[in-house]
């Protein structure tokens, strides 16, 4: 700090705004937000109520159906999606293993959660991605927001979510969607922007309207990239359900949280592997499905 003796104080010690002012600003923002929550919290709760119903309904359906029925449906979906015997057998085996170690119900709760999160991310993400692809200005506006959503530590945005919604499934769901939707938006945007200019020109030359162009050319050609986005979204939702368990989401995440708190090594890993199992099932199935949709690009002439 010898250098400081030669420099004016201003250049040596960062001139922070004084504590009093910061405290004031902090307090007014906090109070403002609390006021906002007090006056609009009920309205917001009412708006997201359908999500709660949907989530509860799906969770009940998953948990209370006989396990054999769920397993059969799951294996059937995996087979229809992937048309791949190995993936199908792998799915059946890992689900049986999960059941054997007593994690069936928790896995069902997590599955319901991830399914709803993925659906919401797709429904929200694809339209935003399309808008971004259509306008450079929207892209310039949305991109920084996505950057914030992806890099902001998830614990930070849990604070306002919990303030508004309290503890429960819906706030967990919103936290997961905030974390999982950016790749969906980004890859939809990218996929549409990468569509061959020549083909778009041809669509224009035949007199396609904007909607016809989107439906017939841009979306189908962007599909592989969009499928990659869906895949990413699923993986990120699965990773996030553990964090979301901190604000009351049940399932495998909650078990992991308890294992951390109590240093239950085995319980932690069992639940962790159950998550990995689901992740791999989702990943392989959605990728195989995506490849099947692209069968036209596989056979290359000569």
């Amino acid at each position: 700090m010898a250098i400081c003796s030669f420099l004016p104080e201003l250049l040596c010690k960062f001139p922070a705004i004084d504590d009093g002012t910061i405290r004031m600003a902090r307090k007014s923002v906090d109070d403002g937000f609390k006021g906002f929550v007090r006056s609009y919290g009920d309205a917001i709760d009412a708006v997201v109520q359908p999500l709660q119903w949907f989530l509860n309904y799906l969770e009940r359906a998953f948990v209370s159906s006989p396990w054999i029925l769920v397993l059969i449906i799951m294996v059937a979906i995996v087979y229809i999606g992937s048309r791949h015997v190995k993936i199908t057998i792998g799915t059946a085996l890992s689900m049986v293993a999960i059941g054997l170690v007593g994690l069936w119900n928790d896995t069902m709760i997590t599955l319901a959660m991830v399914t709803v999160c993925t659906l919401i991310s797709i429904v929200v993400g694809i339209p935003i991605g399309i808008l971004m692809a259509r306008s450079g200005r929207v892209q310039a506006f949305v991109n920084p927001i996505l950057d914030v959503m992806q890099t902001m530590p998830s614990f930070v945005y849990l604070i306002p979510v919990v303030m508004i919604f309290g503890i429960g499934k819906v706030p967990g769901l919103i936290a997961v969607v905030i974390y999982a939707v950016p790749p969906m938006i980004r890859l939809t945007n990218l996929g549409i922007r990468l569509v061959d200019k020549e083909v778009l020109e041809a669509a224009d030359a035949f007199g396609s309207s904007a909607w016809q162009k989107l439906k017939n050319v841009q979306m189908p050609l962007a599909l592989p990239t969009i499928m990659a986005g869906i895949n990413q979204t699923i993986m990120m939702s699965l990773a996030m359900v553990v964090v979301a368990s901190m604000i009351g989401v049940g399932g495998l995440g909650k078990n992991v949280l308890q294992a951390i708190a109590n240093q239950f090594f085995t319980v932690g890993f069992l639940n962790g592997f159950a998550l990995v199992g689901i992740a791999i099932i989702f990943d392989r199935t959605s990728q195989a499905f995506g490849r099947r949709l692209q069968k036209h690009s596989e056979v290359i002439h000569g």
């Binding site: 224009d204 035949f206 017939n216 189908p220 036209h296 690009s297 056979v299």
Partner: protein
Amino acid sequence: MASHAIEVKNLYKIFGPRGEDFVDVVKKGMGKAELNEKHGHVLGLQDINILMPGGCITVVMGLSGSGKSTLIRHINRLIDPTAGEVLYDGTDVCKMNENDLRQFRRHKTAMVFQKFALLPHRTVLENTIYGLEIQGIERRESEKRARGWIERVGLKGFENHYPNQLSGGMQQRVGLARALTNDADILLMDEAYSALDPLIRVDMQTVLLDLQKELKKTVVFITHDLDEALRLGDKIAILRDGRVVQQGTGQQIVLSPADDYITAFVKEVNRGRVVHVETVMRPLSGNPEGMSLPAGTVLEAAARMMTGAHVATAHIVDENGRPIGAIDLQTIIAAMVTPTSHADRQAA
């Protein structure tokens, strides 16, 4: 069928954010290089005036960067002009509103692209009906029409293949079938055959000529290949640096090239397939001798017929069978081999 001409009038295209501001400077004579250097704008087209007669094939020829692809995109306004008019049936395409333009593109024009621009996720049949689907025509009806054209371009049996499964030549047949299925008066072909190998290219040229005999569409064909231009074009316009250097029939261009640039081009051309017998015949003196050749026969064909018939002289008859001139083998051969130079032409 259609006798709809396309008239391009005083068309200018200057690429850049303030293109309109520089039309006047270009009109006063500023060239492409100077405009780019001084103002950072690219001169795409300047003062284009071409009448493309209805029912004929008009070829626009030029090397890369000459503005030929820019020009064809003005006809269906994939590119907006900076100044000028593109008239079709008395309507200025450049002034159409969005909806009229879409209707014009759907019903009056069809386009074939250099890189085919097929939809990779659709089969040959689904690609072919694309134009009709956009128009909202019932699927069964459009499939029927599409199947007809797929068969005409020689792709029967490939209806359910994907473009990736086909060779370049076959893909361009799909492109052609897609354009023809639209049943539009104007057929725009942007370097449609440039990506194909020479043999397939000639093959596809024949397909186009055969179809044109009965369809009589207004075809605008872009190419960088003079041989292709001469084979296909009822009328040829040659573009250089965004300006029309010469326009006329193939014969006019080969026999009297407008400048050194075109002279250099036509030097390599097989004149025997371009020049007609009546162009080099001498006036009839006395009775018609030897075999008779119809006017419009090209020199190569005349030479083949005469040598086949073992005659050295022939007379040329018009469409009513009246003799209009005489020719001998020596004249034919001389006309086929003499390289015309710019100087020769001026002396003549």
